[in-house]
């Protein structure tokens, strides 16, 4: 069975899909609007949208004739939370916090 993170990361692994998310960061958009910047066929875009939706990264609405998409932040937060565990490996100030916690709480961290 595939985990959330599996699905989210593989949805994010495609530049077209990341660009779509980027567009949706500016607010809701129809499929046609989302498709416009790309040279791909409309069905190709619909497929990408399906992948994003199944990963929980976007949601579809309904407005008259169209089905506008909006960003769904929760899935991105899932990724941010996962990656936060690694932050200390690149973030100096976080390392210092870590040292501080080690001393104060006697937390082992070799």
């Amino acid at each position: 069975m595939k985990s959330n993170l599996d699905t989210i990361f593989s949805a994010l692994a495609d530049p077209t899909r990341r660009a779509i998310l980027g567009r949706l960061a500016n607010g809701k958009a129809t499929v046609a609007e989302l498709a416009d910047p790309f040279e791909l066929s409309q069905p190709a875009i619909s497929k990408h949208l399906k992948v994003l939706e199944q990963a929980g990264l976007i949601r579809s609405g309904r407005e008259a004739n169209s089905r506008p998409r909006v960003l769904e932040p929760a899935a991105l937060k899932t990724v941010a939370d996962w990656i936060a565990d690694y932050r200390r490996f690149w973030d100096q100030s976080f390392d210092r916090l870590d040292d501080y916690l080690s001393k104060v709480q006697g937390y082992e961290n070799d």
Copy 2:
């Protein structure tokens, strides 16, 4: 051509590979050590390691007979930086900061 983020995200889309990164967060490990928790064949693990290395998520060393792997934080930071642009969508306090900046700097943000 595939971008960095393409390669990194698709490397992260596999649970075995994420588990390997988790293990490497505790420090350097040999291939055998990394393979141990899994029921996969050794070549399968080597393949996963290659994917991680090509994504820049890990590095190989050389120590006598073995080729220990270490975490390479830069690639994870690339992801963290990418996702940071979306942080405002889920982080309340960030939203408040955003409001603050709007007022102070007259920055438009509808």
